[in-house]
């Protein structure tokens, strides 16, 4: 049974980030913050993990937010409202632990990682937590969902690498200020590996800053999403092995060996590039064909 695309819109001004609302009534019924789905667009497609960025149980939909990075994400971008996706499997992974913390909760979203922050902030807010959100991106074009995040945050901090919006700098700068300013219960960081690495370092009790429990969300390469293939495994600093799909995707940021993960993430770089180039050539040829044939 294919899964219908009900809505699609670009986010921000970059042209490479978009959201899609998918008709998946059974998944919507069981989805919670922290869960993800595996998507296979068509028969020759690969299985890509995408975090559930929102869900509507009554309408029977989930929302995914995607940034174009390779062939599969580009192909997904080329699907339109009314089209269908061949396979959507989920909800996978563990939902986050929702409880009322004593001190504020800091939620950090980097780039496309802002999207999965939303349901977490929302669910945590609903149980009465004070939510401080930090949204970061390379530039303002890559920022989105400021209002949506604002609606579930008590405090919203925005920063960009180039200073085109909010504070100029990376997300760890305002985080350091917060650590100095007040006692925090937990920090949740979702975004690029490198960002999560530095967030975890910042909260690990160095440089006279307090140590604060930090959860990061791993978006590794996956196939089955059920713990079977081991492709998503991550080494921990104490020499153990975790699986992002079944132990995560949200895990304790202080035990993850990010340096290794950064290298593992690149293991199919060459093939990913080859696949994307081939797809771009095909698209171009197709465009030309349509132009010539009306």
């Amino acid at each position: 049974m294919p899964y219908k695309i009900l809505e699609k819109r670009e986010l921000g001004g970059s042209g490479i980030v978009f959201e899609m609302v998918l008709e998946t009534p059974l998944i919507a019924k069981k989805a919670y913050a922290g869960n993800f789905v595996l998507v296979r667009i068509n028969e020759t497609g690969e299985r890509i993990p995408l975090t559930i960025a929102d869900y509507d149980r009554e309408r029977g939909t989930i929302t995914i937010v995607v940034q174009i990075a390779g062939k599969s994400t580009k192909l997904l971008f080329h699907q339109n409202v009314g089209d269908s996706i061949l396979d959507v499997v989920g909800p996978l992974g563990n939902k986050i632990h929702i409880k009322k913390y004593e001190y504020p909760v800091v939620i950090i979203g980097g780039g496309v990682g802002i999207a999965p922050c939303y349901p977490q902030a929302k669910e945590l807010k609903e149980v009465g937590n004070k939510i401080i959100s930090i949204l970061g991106a390379r530039n303002k074009e890559l920022l989105f969902w400021r209002d949506k995040m604002g609606s579930v945050s008590d405090e919203l901090i925005i920063c960009t690498d180039d200073g085109s919006e909010g504070i100029k700098g990376v997300v760890t700068e305002p985080l350091k200020d917060l650590l100095k300013r007040e006692k925090l219960s937990i920090v949740i960081a979702i975004g690029p590996l490198i960002m999560m690495k530095y967030v975890a370092l910042t909260t690990n009790g160095f440089d006279g800053l307090p140590k604060v429990k930090t959860i990061v969300s791993l978006n590794t390469i996956m196939i089955d999403g059920t713990g079977m293939c081991g492709g998503c495994r991550f080494p921990t600093i104490d020499g153990k092995i975790g699986f992002a799909c079944v132990d995560g995707p949200d895990v304790d940021g202080h035990i993850v060996d990010f340096d290794n993960l950064l290298k593992r993430a690149k293991r199919f770089e060459k093939q990913e590039k080859e696949s994307l180039e081939l797809y771009d050539r095909e698209c171009k040829a197709l465009k030309k064909f349509y132009k010539e044939n009306g």
């Binding site: 079977m228 081991g230 492709g231 199919f268």
Partner: protein, 909 residues
């Protein structure tokens, strides 16, 4: 004097033990050793000469050694069996397959091997041969007293089931013009129907009373001074071999016994007689023939003056005779052995007589299963190696059929006629009697000696290692014809026991032999809904083919290949065989997991009329059949077709549904599902704990194979899923998954693929065919080797693997010898891809969602024998219950659980 042979040595060393057993006195022992020494010296000479020549050249050996051709052949066969001619490539397949060889080179093992291989005919000769009386028969099974046994191997040398050169069969007397030959009778002269004219004999005789009459003649004419026959003990119908010294005692032994008598166990006691007659079944005659040549190069017993052979279809252990009476006759009328006057086999029926008028009969095929295993191998109906053979087949009631074979036999028959003791009429070659007899004799012929096990045609290794097409191409019709003829059609087929779903293998082979293909596939599908899959991936060599009786003496019947043939025939035919389904019951049953266990369970329930829905986590069905087993071993079209079959039976399949995530069993219950079968497999990979596990280039076989098989990464970039393959790929493990990974890696372009396994070749659990295919394709193997660490380069990519050599210690819980590292033997293997294929464990996704489901300490579901879990209406089977096992055992579990679910629901609703 020349150096004593190992055989002479062991006998002399144990002289006292031999004398104590009283079989030989001092003088007889010396005589025995002397004649044995002559034979041993002759064999030694032959061996020496062959060594000189470097080959077997009969002509040259004959000239140089001045030994007759016949004797040369017998000596060479003996040496070959002992494994002494291996240096010129002359190998005995049977002897090679024996694991428990004699510790001393140049000696045979004892006959416990013959017993264990279930090929003992029960002739009893070894009891007589054993110089220390170490062998006896207990409940029709030979038993060896280890304290008495001196391991001389004489019993094995004399046993007609250990080795029997075909030359021994062909001629026991020089050819003359009176001799005729027919394959099913061997050499013979004339065939008669005859009847005794002696009133006393006629009263007690079974048929024509001919055996007794001929023995009487032999006594009268002083041809013999004693006869070894089979009488009965105090227990009714229990046979008892006896030596009869005069014609008066003959009447005691008249009548036919169908139970095994081990007649030759008393042969040793006949030494005091000069000329004895032996009456016995074909195996007894065969044994006498063998011992006329082995091991002395002359008759071991030189007092055998007459051999009267009996026709025999098969014989039964005494206990089995009682079972036949109890199981097959008791239900019809109370019959106790004492009341039975005689038993007979005639016109395809087994008959028991209470008296001349009262009798009961059943078809022979009903008693076949009680037959002695050793008898299923026999291809001699008419006692080919006797002086004359006698039986009832081919004659009217009250008459016997006689086949004269040697001049001795012809003379005796003539004498009896001259003495007016018998009435006779000739059976001509064109008569109905002759045709009946030859037809039945022919039905007993076994083809496995002439027809080799048929090999499937396979893709050339050099071609196939570059493609993903299936390796074997299956059987041709001609191959099926030949292979099916090899089947023994045992009465008590062990192959069925070896099959986890108990397919009636002999029946489908018989139907194949008769070219009744649609009957054959229907028969298979009654037991196994997925034969095209099982024919390809079952480890037949440790299941049905291992238990096949033929494997004791030759290569087993190729059951898997035949199953594959008939399943493929069915796939290609227009009307697919579809078992009869019961009327819809409108009761919903949920199957979790579309692997072998789930699909089988679904099929069985669909046939029983249930409304079945299968929930599958992946986007396609088949489980390990699609994500684990590569296309070249199991084309995915076959899996798809099998699932289509389930759909035509009304089955529904829901893909992308991970139960425990998207829905729970509770959700399904509220949707109306009344029972569940959990067959989710054991999908979690096991890691070896060494440093460097997270290096790039190190991956699990699950990931590697799922990418390649399920996601079709071998077609990248047409398919989007990438796969990375290095120049030198090492695979850790020795199972099918390791073989599959290695061969996929090769096909994806690896320059070298090395399988590293911590035990030896023998312990490898992989299917033998896959191992051989891997070797043919150029996969390298490093046995008794275990990884110590994975070493990476500056980019965190693996570049080497450090390994350590292992040796095998004591057997562990699995029965396999435990590998132990050899200290200081570490070395490095250059490699840029390491695939870990050392097993899988339970995946907790589903079981975590049902906390009240009882699991064992490893996370597998605990069930009763038929898959019943601790939760009502919830059943489980396959790897999630047993841990990693085979496709067919998962199917067996699915099948049993379906039956259990059916009875549960029938009772409840």
């Amino acid at each position: 004097m020349e150096k004593a042979s190992p055989l002479i040595e062991v006998l002399i060393d144990n002289k006292q033990k031999i004398l104590d057993s009283k079989k030989y006195n001092e003088v007889e022992f010396e005589e025995f050793i002397n004649s044995l020494m002559q034979a041993e010296n002759e064999r030694e000479k032959v061996l020496k000469k062959i060594k000189e020549l470097g080959r077997i050249d009969i002509q040259k050996l004959k000239e140089d050694l001045k030994i007759s051709e016949e004797r040369l052949i017998y000596n060479i066969e003996y040496l070959k069996e002992l494994g002494l001619l291996e240096f010129i490539g002359e190998i005995s397949e049977f002897y090679q397959s024996i694991e428990e060889k004699n510790e001393k080179e140049g000696l045979f093992p004892n006959v416990s091997i013959i017993r264990d291989k279930k090929i003992c005919s029960g002739c009893g000769l070894c009891v007589s041969i054993c110089p220390t009386n170490a062998i006896n028969f207990l409940n029709d099974t030979l038993n060896i007293d280890d304290d008495l046994c001196i391991n001389c191997g004489l019993c094995y040398a004399c046993c007609h089931r250990s080795f029997f050169p075909k030359e021994l069969k062909t001629d026991q007397e020089k050819l003359d013009s009176d001799k005729k030959y027919l394959k099913e009778f061997n050499n013979y002269r004339e065939i008669y129907s005859a009847q005794t004219k002696d009133d006393l004999i006629r009263k007690v005789a079974q048929d024509g009373g001919i055996v007794t009459t001929l023995l009487k003649t032999a006594f009268i004419r002083k041809i013999i001074d004693a006869a070894l026959v089979v009488g009965v003990s105090e227990k009714p119908h229990e046979p008892l071999p006896l030596l009869i010294e005069n014609e008066e005692d003959l009447l005691k032994s008249a009548g036919t016994r169908y139970s095994n008598a081990h007649a030759l166990k008393i042969l040793q006691n006949s030494k005091k007689f000069k000329k004895i007659a032996v009456v016995g079944t074909p195996c007894v005659m065969e044994a006498l023939r063998k011992v006329s040549v082995y091991p002395l190069n002359e008759p071991f017993y030189n007092n055998i003056a007459l051999k009267i052979g009996l026709f025999c279809m098969e014989s039964f252990d005494y206990e089995k005779i009682l079972d036949i009476l109890k199981n097959e006759f008791l239900t019809r009328r109370l019959i106790i052995p004492k009341e039975i006057k005689k038993m007979d086999i005639n016109k395809g029926r087994f008959i028991i007589y209470k008296n001349n008028k009262d009798f009961f009969d059943i078809p022979i095929k009903k008693i076949k299963k009680y037959g002695r295993f050793g008898c299923f191998l026999c291809d001699d109906l008419t006692s080919e190696l006797s002086d004359l053979s006698i039986g009832s087949i081919g004659s009217e009631p009250g008459w016997s059929t006689i086949i004269t074979r040697t001049s001795k036999g012809v003379d005796l028959f003539q004498q009896a006629f001259n003495l007016k003791l018998i009435e006779q009429k000739k059976i001509e070659e064109d008569s109905k009697s002759f045709i009946t007899l030859s037809k039945i004799a022919k039905s007993k012929l076994k083809m496995y000696k002439e027809i080799p096990r048929q090999k499937m045609i396979e893709q050339d290794p050099n071609v196939r290692k570059n493609n993903f097409q299936e390796v074997p191409k299956g059987y041709t019709l001609e191959m099926v014809k030949l292979e099916t003829q090899r089947c023994l059609q045992c009465g008590n087929p062990l192959c069925i026991e070896g099959c986890p779903v108990n397919v009636d293998i002999p029946k489908f082979i018989r139907l194949l032999r008769q070219e009744k293909f649609s009957d054959a596939i229907n028969n298979v599908k009654t037991y196994n809904l997925l034969p095209a899959i099982c024919g390809r991936v079952c480890p037949q060599e440790i299941q049905c083919e291992q238990t096949c009786l033929l494997s004791s003496v030759s290569k087993p019947i190729a059951i898997g290949n035949l199953e594959r043939f008939i399943a493929d025939w069915d796939r290609k035919s227009q009307v697919k065989a579809c078992p009869d389904c019961q009327a819809p019951k409108n009761i919903k049953v949920g199957i979790i997991g579309a692997g072998p266990a789930g699909l089988t369970c679904a099929g069985e329930l669909l046939m029983r009329g249930y409304d079945v829905t299968i929930f599958e986590a992946f986007h396609t069905g088949g489980g390990v059949l699609v994500y684990g087993i590569p296309e070249f071993r199991l084309p995915k079209d076959i899996v798809r077709e099998e699932i289509e079959t389930l759909k035509t039976l009304g089955g529904k399949i829901e893909y992308n549904k991970i139960i425990g995530k998207i829905m729970t069993i509770e959700d399904l219950k509220s949707m109306g599902f009344k029972a569940f079968f959990i067959g989710v497999g054991a999908g979690l990979p096991t890691f070896i704990i060494v440093t460097g596990l997270s290096l790039n280039g190190v991956l699990t076989a699950n990931e590697f194979l799922t990418r390649a098989n399920l996601m079709k990464a071998y077609k990248f970039p047409e398919y989007d899923t990438p796969i990375k393959i290095g120049k030198i790929v090492t695979v850790l493990g020795g199972g099918n998954v390791a073989m599959d990974s290695a061969r996929v890696a090769l096909r994806l372009g690896a320059e070298r693929v090395i399988v590293v396994y911590r035990r030896s070749e023998k312990e490898m659990p992989a299917r033998r065919a896959e191992y051989h295919h891997a070797i043919e394709e150029g996969i390298e193997f490093q046995f008794l080797t275990n990884p110590v660490s994975f070493i990476g380069d500056e980019n965190e990519s693996v570049k080497q693997m450090e390994v350590i050599k292992m040796r095998l210690g004591e057997p562990d819980d699995s029965g396999r010898r435990r590998p132990i590292p050899i200290e200081g033997s570490e070395y490095k293997i250059e490699t840029d891809t390491i695939i870990i294929a050392i097993g899988t464990k339970a995946n907790p996704i589903l079981t975590n969602s049902i906390p009240e489901l009882k699991l064992n300490k490893w996370g597998y579901i605990e069930t009763g024998e038929h898959g019943k879990t601790n939760l009502e209406g919830v059943y489980a089977g396959g790897d999630i219950v047993t841990g990693s096992a085979t496709v067919i055992s998962a199917m067996g579990a699915g099948k049993r659980a379906a039956a259990e679910i059916d009875s549960y629901l029938t009772e409840k609703i």
